[in-house]
């Protein structure tokens, strides 16, 4: 397309989310490679359901809930904080947040990656799943609240707890988890864990997985990879794939 490579700037000031998202869709369909959205102030559903794998949205301000919900391919960079429901049921693409996010990051997420420089709220990565080559990843620079990885069925969550303002996760971490891996830099006290998960040491394979994603985390946020991996990582995995397999009378 002739407009490839061109940059377009949109102001979100005073726009309802529906107007803003229509505008974003239109500009992407026109073929702009990179779109800067200024003055974002709580508009919801930015990037929702979009499939534009090679394009970049840069958001300045605070996007509203459900950023990148059902998203299928797009890179979103948020220069600010994000609110709740980021990457809800996301299937592909990448979201990079230079601040923190609210609750419910990556609910039911099946593909793509989310990088958060700061912390995330409660209910992060609930029912994340994976299928064939789709393995979703969430990397959190700070810490998270309760219910991290509840019902988790696949994918990878990495919690770095960089500023170390207390424990890396809240309570009920990994409750009902039956697939996927949660990596934690430093450790988590046993009483914070759900009864379906165990805390174990990492192996060579895990280090390769961590490096694959932390290289990008380091690059995006200007932190050295050596520093990120200087501390010991642990991983949380489910005891088995069928936590509720023997519950019923046949």
């Amino acid at each position: 397309m002739e407009k490839d490579g061109r940059l377009k700037t949109i102001s979100a000031k005073g726009l309802h989310y529906r107007q803003l998202n229509e505008e974003i869709r239109k500009v992407l369909e026109e073929g702009y490679q990179q779109i800067k959205i200024m003055d974002v102030n709580g508009q919801r559903y930015i990037g929702s359901g979009l499939t534009f794998s090679d394009r970049i949205l840069e958001i300045y301000g605070t996007p509203g809930n459900d950023l990148g919900a059902f998203m299928n391919g797009l890179t979103i960079r948020v220069f600010g904080n994000a609110q709740d429901g980021t990457a809800n049921t996301m299937n592909g693409g990448e979201i990079v947040i230079y601040g923190s996010t609210g609750d419910l990051v990556g609910y039911g997420m099946r593909g793509g990656r989310v990088f958060i420089r700061g912390s995330a709220g409660y209910r992060v990565g609930i029912h994340m799943k994976e299928y064939e080559d789709k393995i979703p990843v969430i990397v959190i620079g700070g810490n998270t609240g309760d219910f991290l990885g509840e019902y988790m069925a696949g994918g990878r969550i990495i919690v770095l707890n960089l500023e170390s303002q207390g424990d890396a996760t809240g309570y009920f971490c990994g409750t009902g988890m039956h697939g996927g891996i949660i990596y934690i830099r430093g450790t988590v006290p046993e009483h914070r864990l759900g009864k379906e998960v165990k805390l174990t040491d990492i192996n060579e394979e895990d280090i390769a997985i961590l490096k694959e994603h932390l290289i990008d985390f380091a690059r995006y946020f200007g932190i050295s990879l050596e520093y990120l991996i200087s501390e010991k990582f642990y991983k949380l995995v489910p005891y088995n794939k069928r936590p509720y397999g023997r519950l019923y009378a046949y």
Binding site: S48, A69, F70, G85, N88, K129, A153, H178, R246
Partner: protein
């Protein structure tokens, strides 16, 4: 452990008629019939029989019949055989009792306490065979008012609608809970009759994409198979909050049933449990529901109606009001008789309320709040025939959902063992040898026949009332009278007792 659970059924074989062809042996996935070569006779292991009648139907000489086990416990009003046997089963397994299909207990069936009006002398009845009858139904949000330009052209933008030729749709049954041939049968019947089928929460099988124009795709708490392609495939999106057979609890497709095809459709690895959490963890309030409704609308660029399905529970009318305010295009209410591929027996039999009462109370509430015109109402979970459909419409429904009736049309005998995955009729199973027993050509024919037969009957009854368009019956409760109902029931249903005039 020796089981104390004596068989539910006894297989009776007429030895004179039996020609030892072993059809019954091959047909029974529960392995009830076994051929004894030494004695040259077929013997039955009664304890495995679920009473599905597959062998009875297929026996070429009609040598088999099945009766309920006449073995009686001492007579006891409180301690029925069912109550005792359930305890034996739990004492022997330590497990939650599971069952399939809908609540089979003796709660009132309000459909059977409602009677339909007809014209006599005044307001003459109409003969649908010679006069046009309108059953067409639109499901979707209706604008508050219509505006036209100076040339009389409509300028109001009409929100997306589902256009139904008959007011009956097939309700949600996932591929996984039922077989691909059962899904295909209903999908093809929908295309033929001009109605819709519903994918359930298991994703859309590639083989069913040709029928996607007639599909409603579900988005449930597990988000299985939900991606943009799927959301855009159907003609509407349904957020599944609850189901009449198991309100308030999640779903759980055991790993054994997640074979290659189910795995592809749900987009999860083979052999893992498909666990649907009890709530959507992104919905803890009406405001959150609104957020998901609009996230879905944004994802499909406002091109499809987004509905919300809930189970009929005590506070259903307030919840429905919230759903209407949250921006949904339709509400589907599933009554406590609604079927399931698997539910804990105690929940199926004890949780929720009859859909007749739920429907009347929701319709009344939405009218009182001035919301009824904006949103469509679909009810399901106990519709057995065309008279039930008429009564539902008169109580205020725009359309009905059927599932059990549809499966019965395909050959289901209501043995209530869907959860075992050994359906001998090829419906509630993923075993390829069983699935192929249901021919989708025949299944589609049987299901469409049912809908056509019901629409004829609906037209007859409408004509009898002197009504020529279904729209005129919608919420027209004067066309109903109750029999044997108390004051409170009549009040909730918003109808008079039989014998009372206008």
């Amino acid at each position: 452990m020796k089981t104390l659970y004596e068989s539910d059924f006894i297989v009776i074989r007429d030895e004179i008629r039996c020609i030892r062809c072993k059809v019954c042996v091959r047909q029974c996935a529960n392995e009830v019939h076994q051929y004894d070569e030494e004695d040259d006779r077929v013997i039955a292991e009664n304890s495995r029989c679920v009473g599905c009648h597959r062998c009875v139907t297929l026996c070429p000489t009609k040598a088999i019949t099945i009766i309920r086990n006449p073995l009686d416990f001492r007579e006891n009003y409180q301690w029925t055989a069912r109550a005792i046997k359930d305890i034996y089963k739990q004492a022997e397994t330590g497990g939650i009792l599971l069952t399939g299909m809908g609540n089979d207990k003796e709660y009132p069936i309000y459909w059977d306490r409602l009677l339909i009006n007809a014209s006599q002398v005044t307001n003459p009845s109409i003969d649908p065979l010679r006069e046009p009858m309108e059953l067409k139904t639109f499901i979707g949000r209706k604008p508050e008012k219509l505006e036209f330009d100076n040339y009389g052209r409509l300028i109001t933008e009409i929100p997306p609608q589902l256009e139904l030729e008959v007011p009956i749709m097939f309700s949600a049954m996932s591929f996984g809970s039922i077989s691909i041939n059962a899904c295909e049968s209903l999908a093809r019947a929908s295309v033929e009759v001009g109605t819709f089928w519903n994918t359930g929460e298991g994703g859309l099988h590639k083989k069913l994409y040709p029928y996607k124009e007639r599909a409603i795709v579900q988005c449930a708490s597990g988000r299985f198979g939900v991606d943009v392609e799927y959301l855009n495939a159907g003609s509407a999106i349904e957020i599944k909050i609850g189901q009449g057979a198991k309100p308030g609890i999640g779903g759980h497709l055991p790993g054994e049933k997640v074979g290659e095809e189910v795995s592809q459709t749900r987009m999860i690895p083979i052999g893992t449990d498909a666990i649907s959490p009890a709530p959507h963890h992104d919905i803890y309030s009406i405001e959150d529901l609104r957020q998901l409704i609009y996230a879905l609308k944004e994802a499909v660029n406002y091109k499809k109606p987004v509905g919300v399905k809930i189970a009929a529970v005590h506070n259903v009318s307030a919840i429905a009001s919230g759903i209407a305010r949250a921006g949904a295009d339709y509400i589907a209410i599933d009554g406590f008789r609604g079927g399931t591929g698997a539910a804990p027996t105690r929940i199926r039999d004890n949780v929720g309320i009859p859909v007749e009462l739920a429907l009347a109370s929701v319709d009344t509430r939405l009218r009182e709040e001035g919301l009824r015109n904006q949103i469509s109402l679909i009810v399901g979970g106990s519709i057995r025939n065309s008279a039930d459909v008429i009564k539902a419409i008169a109580l205020g429904a725009d359309a009905v959902y059927i599932a059990t009736s549809a499966l019965v049309a395909l050959g289901c005998h209501l043995c209530q063992n869907c959860h075992t995955g050994k359906c001998n009729w090829g419906i509630a199973t993923q075993d390829p040898n069983l699935v192929k027993r249901l021919n989708p050509d025949i299944g589609a024919k049987r299901a469409s026949n049912l809908l056509k037969a019901w629409s004829h009957e609906i037209k007859e009854m409408l004509g009898g009332m002197g009504i020529n368009a279904l729209e005129s019956l919608r919420g027209n409760r004067l066309m109903l009278r109750g029999v044997g109902l108390n004051e409170k029931e009549l009040e909730i249903l918003g109808i008079k007792h039989a014998g009372e005039g206008i």
